[in-house]
């Protein structure tokens, strides 16, 4: 039985319901195979060093993610207890290749399993942390998960897997985007869960792409039958046009966007000429 922690990278500019849905679909798909249990998920927004035009400062993107995951304080939803925000990548000044992000989390998990994790050696052994620690430190949360797991199994196999959309997979074929050794490492040592739309044929891509084809069995392809094309680009465009983005991303995130006037939006929710009240 493999225990998985799903890691999804991306701009999250802003986070949308589609991003969050991706985690849910991936988790269900892995569990259904009978070979995996999903320990948790980590959202790892890219750092400002990524230098993409229109990319909001990580401060905002992180705050919106916290609101979306129910940890920002102002939330009408139930917090997602299995998806956490990972800030390691975001706070670095330079952009970090995806493979290195996966390496980072896997190394820490391996250390926890081998009892060589520094923080673990220095801190209380039973993993009882203050609530603030839990919330701001995804590693503390991982630590507690691993500790619970080790209470049940002596030598659990805990792996990081990359969670992404079909567009990321297809970008493997674009020259200059990925280092070859990174691609190999991702599919060989970690594995991927790829969410695609019906009709996009990721199977063919895996079949024809020599570099990753040997590790085909580590690439889980999940079809998203109910297509939800809620892209961050569309959200930004809609906000720019002073049109409604409601129900495409969590209300607290929309609220944050309006309050801070992000993405060219006006200062508040669009109002009707509301006669009745």
């Amino acid at each position: 039985m493999h225990y998985i922690v799903l890691v999804a990278g991306g701009s999250f500019n802003p986070v949308t319901n589609m991003h969050l849905r991706m985690f849910e679909l991936a988790r269900d798909a892995l569990i259904k195979t009978g070979q995996f249990k999903v320990l948790g998920g980590i959202v790892s927004p890219v750092s400002d060093g990524y230098n993409k035009p229109g990319l909001l400062p990580s401060k905002h993107r992180i705050e919106m993610l916290k609101l979306a995951l129910g940890r920002g304080g102002c939330s009408d939803g139930i917090p997602s207890s299995w998806i956490r925000l990972g800030t390691w990548e975001a706070v670095r000044s330079q952009w970090t290749p995806t493979r290195k992000v996966l390496d980072h989390y896997q190394r820490r998990i391996d250390a926890m399993l081998a009892d060589t994790d520094e923080a673990q050696l220095n801190g209380p052994p039973d993993g009882k942390r203050s609530r603030i620690d839990e919330e701001s430190d995804e590693l503390a949360w991982l630590r507690s998960l691993v500790a619970k797991l080790r209470a049940k199994e002596s030598q659990p196999d805990v792996r990081i897997m990359l969670l992404c959309g079909g567009d990321v997979l297809q970008s493997f074929a674009v020259k200059g985007v990925w280092q070859e050794e990174d691609m190999v490492s991702i599919v060989r040592d970690y594995g991927m869960v790829v969410l695609s739309r019906p009709g996009s044929d990721p199977h063919r891509f895996v079949h024809t792409f020599d570099l990753i084809n040997p590790y085909e069995r580590n690439i889980r392809l999940v079809t998203e039958w109910a297509v939800n094309d809620i892209s961050s680009t569309l959200i930004r465009r809609t906000l720019q046009r002073n049109e409604s983005v409601r129900y495409m991303l969590p209300d607290p995130v929309i609220d944050y966007i309006y309050r801070n006037g992000l993405y060219g939006s006006t200062a508040s929710w669009p109002r009707l000429e509301n006669f009745a009240d």
Binding site: E24, R27, D76, I78, L145, D229, D255
Partner: protein
């Protein structure tokens, strides 16, 4: 100018100054079984698009879920569906968007099913009454004879909207040069908001009365959201009944193609799969707390740690074996074991009391246990006192029924007006 961009209207001019802009209230009907983000999103997209067209001013919206008497397979009770809608439409506790969509309970709480056109008529009657200053009962149209209830919250709200419209129209007429400006008669109407699948259902024989389709297209108008697999422009072109009123039929493109459907959500719930982020959290919470649609309560709350994954696994891998309770129109409950989704068709007789069954409620076994008793209320005395042989026989025949009906091909597409055939006058 913050005020200018704040208002969803064409300009900062007094409201009724431009009489060519039509005042509209959007009405959406449907099962809402359960309500999804797509249902809610549809209103938002419609409002923005109508405003952008420069032809309309959206005053508000009404969601009118169908009554239980609709008799559709696995339709949760009106009580549940209304509460889920109420949760979905409540704005978040902290400062959030203004609530502009109302929940219309009239249709859902009626004993019999109401054609969509009559729902439109009813709310329009309230608007017209206020516009003409007459009592609603005298303006209620249609053979349904629907008089607008003075205590109905949505009718009261509609009348308030019209009063405000009138007062602002009066104000603008008196200001400015009234010689130049012709005060057009004030008007406001409902428009039917729906998906392209409902529009396409116009073509199904016997489903809609022709005169209803014409009335809806001609007197009310429709706002139709594109959905994958349907081509509303082509349909309007081909449908003779509504084609003459093409200018009243607004097609919305939804570029964030949102294929979320209630049936897909029910399917995922049955399979123990996650429906998170497809509908509001408060609604999901309600579904799990009341164990609707065959879902497993433990899956929702056990989301994170290793131990909870066992629950998730069990939910996903087990078949939908929840016991189903079938409730007849006299209110007795007969318990059926086995497959969770047997469909007792409209007109089926209740095994216990012989009443013709017009309402079906499916609850999970857990919810059934919560309810009192095993013996239906209306069983004759001797059976209540437990002739066990008879009970076993009854159970067997029910199971056979369940098995044979479960083998039927699944109903596809909206079947909203199927029962209309029975009530054709």
């Amino acid at each position: 100018d913050a005020k200018l961009t704040d208002t969803v209207g064409c300009s900062a001019m007094p409201v009724a100054a431009d009489p060519t802009i039509e005042n509209v209230v959007l009405l959406a009907c449907g099962s809402y079984n359960p309500v999804t983000n797509m249902h809610l999103r549809m209103f938002e997209v419609a409002r923005d698009a109508l405003r952008k067209s420069g032809r309309f001013r959206v005053l508000g919206g009404i969601i009118s879920p169908v009554a239980d008497a609709f008799g559709k397979e696995d339709l949760a009770s009106a009580e549940h569906r209304l509460e889920m809608l109420r949760l979905a439409l409540s704005p978040p506790a902290v400062a959030g968007p203004p609530a502009w969509i109302r929940l219309g309970k009239w249709e859902a709480t009626r004993r019999r099913w109401t054609p969509t056109r009559q729902v439109l008529d009813r709310y329009q009657a309230a608007i017209d009454a206020e516009l003409t200053g007459t009592e609603p009962c005298s303006t209620a149209g249609g053979s349904g004879g629907e008089s607008c209830d003075e205590t109905d919250a949505e009718c009261i709200w509609l009348r308030k909207l019209v009063r405000r419209l009138k007062s602002t129209a009066g104000a603008s007429a008196h200001g400015g040069d009234s010689a130049d400006r012709q005060t057009a008669p004030l008007a406001a109407r409902l428009m039917l908001l729906c998906g392209a699948d409902l529009l396409a259902s116009f073509a199904r024989p016997g489903l809609w009365r022709t005169e209803d389709m014409v009335t809806i297209a001609r007197d009310y108008g429709m706002v139709v959201l594109a959905r994958s697999g349907f081509n509303p422009q082509k349909f309007i072109y081909e449908c003779d009944a509504i084609n003459p009123f093409e200018q009243n039929l607004v097609i919305l493109s939804e570029w964030s193609c949102n294929d979320t459907s209630s049936s897909q959500i029910r399917r995922s719930l049955r399979r123990g799969e996650s429906v998170r982020y497809l509908l509001p959290d408060s609604v999901i919470d309600y579904v799990y707390r009341h164990r609707l649609y065959g879902c497993r309560a433990d899956y929702w709350h056990g989301q994170s740690s290793v131990s909870s994954d066992d629950a998730a696994e069990a939910a996903v891998s087990s078949s939908a074996a929840a016991a189903a309770v079938q409730r007849c129109s006299r209110g007795c409950q007969t318990r059926m074991t086995g497959s969770a989704m047997p469909a007792a068709r409209i007109g089926k007789e209740c095994r216990a009391c012989g009443a013709r069954s017009t309402r079906h409620v499916f609850l999970s076994s857990a919810a059934v246990d919560d309810q009192r008793g095993d013996a239906p209320d209306c069983l004759p005395q001797q059976q209540q006192h437990g002739d066990s042989r008879h009970d076993r026989h009854r159970q067997q025949s029910l199971q056979q029924d369940a098995a044979s009906v479960a083998a039927l091909p699944a109903l596809s597409g909206p079947v909203r007006h199927r029962s209309h055939r029975e009530s054709k006058s």
